[in-house]
Amino acid sequence: MKPWITRVRAVRTTVIAPVLAGAALLVAAAARAPHARTGSITGIVDVAGTVSMSGTVVAPTAIDMSGDAYCQRVNSGRQVLERSVVADGQGRLADVVIYVKEGAPRAAAPSAQDSVLLDQQNCMYTPNAVAVRTNQALVIRNSDETLHNVHVKPSRNREFNIGQPLRGTRSRRTFGTPEVGIAVVCDIHGWMHASIAVFDHPWFAITRENGTFTIADLPPGDYVLEAWHATLGTRQQRVTVTAAASAQVSFTFAAR
């Protein structure tokens, strides 16, 4: 069973938690050795922070999977909640894409890249949001014993729709053009939504379950960072990164 199913119980919080955000950031920074990984480049730092939402977090509704006997069976005995907004008790948002929108230095394409996995498990996407670099492989897998179709609807890349009828069916796809917010839907299971973001640089992250993120190894400079959420929209901030210390950034979305 996936952790998100039990995690999302948050109701009614109006608190943005900059203190917690800062604490999480310090923990994140302390847990890593930020400047030591790439010996030839000096001065690069991590940009870390937290994404939250203000206002009333509406309790997500339970998904009705009765249209598919398999989906209903594998989720029997638990309530699967709709995932358009995934926030914890303090309004901290998961599945937010944070990335350098302006000012990204020219980045060489890495020689070898791990693929990124978008799985379909228990009739839900796992994870909800994925990000890849241009021409990096996205592996789309069906771990269910029911037919899923993966209908990917970009505006700048090419639309495709693949049928994955069997457990273990997998497809590799790449995207040639940077694009944020590519919608992924299953036309069979209307509750299944995910998003793909494609970047031509490596400076991006997706918020974790507790709303935190870390963009690693950003060279000093002035940047515009954008936070993108599938249903809450976007937020931007200017950030100046110096070699002296890790930068800290927090974003706040307004509940809809």
Binding site: S66, G67, D68, A69, E145, T146, L147, N149, V150, H151, E159, F160, N161, I162, G163, Q164, P165, L166, R167, G168, T169, R170, S171, V185, C186, D187, I188, H189, G190, W191
Partner: protein
């Protein structure tokens, strides 16, 4: 319309099966399918066509193939009814497999139909299709594979729902341009009626001025009396009645009713090739207005498809046309008509054919003619759909 197009490798199995019973290949298919599936990491325990249909198709198309018995799918566009023979018999396996392999857009259909290229092997797709073919319970409907490409002159045996506008223009001698509008409507599993309305402009003789107007309208009926998917053959009998609507004095009409019974035969040859034959008599009601005539036509051709067999089709073909008045001492007139048919749009239901009719005999009396048609298979969608 056209049809018969080759798909690469194993995808052509169904077509080959029409002429060359491929029992050996079929018997091996499940084993290969399992190999491929396990390579991909997929788990397919029952690889029968029915089970594969259940796994890959039934969620949207219904367990029964009619779109019923499916759960609460998230899309609202209608799905086709596989149990409706009128729908499910008329396209060849190659078109179905193209859509299964590449998804709906490969034939200009909705993108909600996904691509299964990575999920099923070509052999599995064929098994699924063989199962879908069992959903039409009436074997009297000739299979779409037998719908051979339409030649410029030779009448095909397959009953059609299409509109064709044909333009012919004399390339030498007195000017002559004829346009014919043809409408064909299929009814039942084997029958077709048609009406052809020609109109044209002609120079009666060099320098004598031009005449323009309606020609002789023809009404026809055709029935595919025998067909065999296994042998790749189809045979039809038909007839036309030509009504003297054209002004005889202007050379636009014959001035008499003419009856034209005919027989047509089509044969798939080696997968993507074909042979079509037609024999006919023309019998004028008023023997003063014209001679009885026998005519025979034959066409051979081959279809090539771009983009791994999924794309535009090119069908070069050549017709041999012969005719002879049924009176003593008459000679046979022979013509040759090389031509090429090309599908224009993604749906492949709008096609053109370009060719020339070259007299082989009486070349001093008969001129070469350029002939062109634009064909719209209106059953497959609007003229501007599926581009």
């Amino acid at each position: 319309m056209k049809r018969m197009r080759r798909l690469s490798h194993g995808l052509v199995l169904g077509l080959l099966g029409a002429v060359l019973p491929a029992e050996g290949a079929r018997a091996q298919a499940p084993a290969r399918a399992q190999d491929s599936a396990s390579r991909a990491g997929a788990v397919a325990q029952d690889t029968s066509g029915r089970a594969l249909y259940g796994a890959g198709c039934a969620s949207c198309h219904g367990v029964d193939g009619a779109g019923g018995g499916r759960g609460g799918v998230a899309f609202t566009i209608p799905v086709p009814d596989f149990t409706d023979c009128s729908f499910s018999s008329r396209e060849p396996d190659a078109d179905w497999i193209a859509v299964v392999h590449e998804g709906g857009p490969v034939r200009g259909f909705d993108a909600t139909m996904p691509a299964f290229a990575e999920a099923f092997t070509p052999e599995q797709m064929q098994q699924i299709l063989d199962y879908i073919r069992t959903m039409c319970p009436d074997a009297s409907w000739p299979r779409g594979e037998l719908n051979l490409p339409r030649a410029l002159f030779t009448e095909k045996a397959y009953p059609e729902d299409e509109a064709v506008t044909t333009l012919s223009a004399a390339l030498e001698g007195p000017g002559r341009v004829v346009n014919e509008m043809l409408y064909e409507k299929r009814f039942g599993s084997r029958n077709q009626i048609e009406i052809a309305v020609p109109f044209g402009v002609a120079e009666l003789s060099a320098g004598a001025g031009w005449e323009a107007g309606l020609g002789d309208v023809a009404i026809g009926f055709k029935r595919a009396v025998w067909h065999s998917f296994r042998s790749g053959s189809i045979f039809a009998l038909g007839g036309e009645v030509v009504v003297p609507t054209g002004r005889e004095s202007a050379g636009l009409g014959s001035g008499t009713w003419v009856f034209e019974p005919y027989a047509s035969f089509g044969q798939i040859v080696a997968g993507s090739g074909f042979l079509q034959l037609q024999g006919a008599f023309e019998v004028p009601a008023d023997s003063d207005k014209g001679e009885k005539e026998a005519l025979w036509r034959g066409v051979v051709g081959w279809t090539f498809a771009q983009d791994r067999g999924f794309g535009r089709t090119w069908t070069p073909m050549v017709e041999l046309l012969g005719s002879r008045d049924l009176e003593e001492g008459a000679t046979v007139a022979w013509d040759l008509a090389p031509q090429i048919q090309i599908s224009l749009n993604t749906r492949q239901h709008v096609l053109v054919n370009l060719g020339v009719r070259l007299p082989l005999t009486d070349t001093d009396l008969r001129s070469s003619t350029f002939v062109f048609y634009l064909l719209w298979d209106w059953f497959d969608g609007g003229l501007f759909a599926g581009w």
